[in-house]
């Protein structure tokens, strides 16, 4: 089976993930209309379980999750992100477009972890939450909890904390020396400041030149969910129209359409349009007109 290669910024390694098929994509777009943040997190994490191998799911952080979905979005849906925006000062509408690859480039420039050293004690902290702690933190209304990020302690022995639960990490942090924690907070704040100066998305109104919206590299579960929603939001009508068209006009079975990616459907549809255009020209019969784009 074909797999996509994704670079995980937190783990600094490549993994392979399955493609996003049309059935899952349709379910995702439908679910985003519900508008519940916790459900959105659960939904994307559920899809991760489908497309990422179990052993790779361990220690996946929210920035790795974003990297995976950016690749999925770029390859399986479309390489560009188009958003319809309204200028808050003039109420005029305008289109915002950016390449998914540009967001990926910024993602790779972010600081993902810090190492803190004080008298014979070293701790390592990830700046981005582990996906298994996402919903806990959001339920606690604290999407940016410093306590979850500790990944390693070196005090005579090296202790890897990747597999420790959130509650266990809280206890460990409570038992670290306060002077060390102060240093950790300082370094983490500096790294977050650096990340917050990197924009993953920045929308400037062409009417006023003011920045009307941005998502910086200092992402937490809430901002990540927001960004993922923008990446995968689509007119439901387009989703069903695409299915209807390729099944009706291209004569594909619904099962096959559900098994391929939205981008592949677009490719087939383009072939169909080219062919019907050729046939119409040959027969000099311009009666059939189809839209070239589904929208995604």
């Amino acid at each position: 089976m074909f797999k996509l290669k994704v670079y995980l910024p937190s783990q600094k390694k490549f993994i392979y993930v399955k493609e996003l098929n049309y059935k899952t994509y349709r379910g995702l777009v439908k679910s985003l209309y519900v508008g519940d943040r916790l459900k959105t997190i659960e939904l994307f994490n559920f899809i991760l379980q489908e497309i990422v191998e179990v052993k790779e799911l361990e220690n996946l952080t929210i920035i790795d999750k974003l990297a995976i979905f950016l690749t999925i979005r770029e390859v399986c849906v479309s390489p560009d992100l188009n958003l319809k925006c309204t200028c808050p000062d003039t109420n005029a509408e305008f289109n915002y477009q950016t390449a998914i690859s540009d967001i990926q480039k910024t993602l790779d420039e972010l600081i993902t972890d810090v190492t803190v050293k004080t008298d014979n004690l070293i701790t390592k902290h990830s700046l981005f939450t582990d996906i298994k702690d996402e919903t806990i933190l959001l339920t606690e209304n604290n999407p940016d909890d410093f306590r979850t990020g500790i990944t390693e302690i070196i005090a005579e022995k090296v202790i890897n904390l990747d597999n420790y639960k959130f509650s266990e990490k809280k206890i460990i942090i409570e038992n670290l020396p306060a002077s060390h924690l102060l240093q950790a907070r300082l370094q983490i704040a500096q790294a977050k400041k650096y990340n917050s100066e990197k924009n993953l998305i920045k929308i400037v109104s062409p009417h006023t030149d003011k920045t009307i919206y941005k998502i910086t590299g200092n992402i937490d579960s809430t901002t990540l969910s927001e960004l993922l929603e923008y990446l995968f939001v689509e007119e439901l009508n387009n989703i069903y129209k695409a299915m209807y068209n390729v099944v009706t006009h291209c004569k594909f079975s619904a099962e096959y359409v559900d098994s391929i990616t939205p981008a592949e459907i677009q490719v087939y549809w383009n072939y169909f349009l080219e062919e019907s255009k050729k046939n119409n020209t040959t027969k000099n019969n311009p009666k059939t007109e189809h839209n070239a784009e589904f929208g995604f």
């Binding site: 008298d119 014979n120 004690l121 302690i153 005090a155 005579e156 022995k157 202790i159 904390l161 597999n163 420790y164 639960k165 266990e168 206890i171 460990i172 942090i173 409570e174 038992n175 670290l176 020396p177 306060a178 002077s179 924690l181 102060l182």
Partner: protein, 255 residues
């Protein structure tokens, strides 16, 4: 499988190897203290919202931190409020360094530490009529007991509704209780410390005013000494200004 206890043991070992030696003025010797932990630091943060007159939460938090971290558990009941100052100043130096930034320039914590080291024993006996009282610098254990039993629940429930003048009256009697080591009536000790804080207050309120005033004079001496110890010189562009350090949550954890 994760072994959280194993991690905690390693951190405990680390704490025991990184002991802070503090000179305790009342004992005239150095005593070792473990570093403040993240949980203890949180306790200090929580003391940020406090009773402004009594600083109930701050007194309770610092007492618990000192007694938990002290390596010589048998001396914790003997530590007094000036010893506590010495310990908190030492912790402040460890957490944020010696320099204190102020609008009048930089000052150093060590200046106060050095003054504390020179303090002599202040205990004395006062008497009036047939009553004799041994007075001393209040012990932190006594102070803790008073705050915990009298005010803590009210402060936690944010129901401490007394006005400033009423609170000052309570403070005066409360401070008097904490300074009293023993009361002798016709040379017989009443074993003052065995009574609860509320009972101690009731006893103090029955004492002749002349005696209370004498304890009050001692409290004034203590207050002035405290101010003198915490007065340090800040220097900015060759201009020296005396500032008084306020030992509170902000001083320790720099909120």
């Amino acid at each position: 499988m994760n072994n959280i206890q194993n991690v905690l043991d390693i951190l405990k070992d680390y704490a025991n190897k990184n002991i802070l030696q503090v000179y305790i003025p009342s004992l005239k010797k150095e005593v070792g203290f473990r570093p403040i932990t993240g949980a203890q630091q949180k306790k200090l943060y929580d003391a940020g919202y406090d009773n402004l007159v009594f600083r109930t939460k701050f007194i309770i938090a610092t007492y618990e931190i000192i007694t938990e971290n002290c390596l010589e558990q048998d001396i914790t009941n003997e530590l007094n409020v000036l010893d506590r100052l010495a310990i908190l100043l030492a912790y402040r130096k460890t957490l944020h360094g010696d320099i204190i930034k102020s609008e009048y320039g930089d000052a150093v914590v060590t200046e106060s530490v050095n003054k504390l080291a020179k303090i002599q024993d202040l205990s004395r006996t006062i008497e009036y009529d047939k009553i004799k009282i041994d007075i001393e610098v209040p012990k932190i254990a006594e102070q803790y007991k008073h705050e915990k039993e009298i005010r803590y629940q009210q402060v936690l429930a944010k129901k401490d509704t007394k006005n400033f003048v009423e609170a000052l009256g309570d403070m005066y009697i409360g401070e008097t209780c904490k300074c009293v080591k023993e009361i002798y009536v016709e040379n017989s000790p009443i074993n003052f410390k065995q009574f609860t804080p509320q009972e101690q207050i009731a006893i103090i309120e029955t004492l002749p005013v002349n005696l209370i005033n004498k304890v009050g004079e001692f409290i004034k001496i203590l207050f002035n000494l405290n101010t003198e110890v915490l007065t340090v010189k800040a220097k900015k562009e060759d201009i020296e200004t005396s500032i008084v350090l306020d030992i509170n949550t902000e001083f320790l954890v720099e909120i």
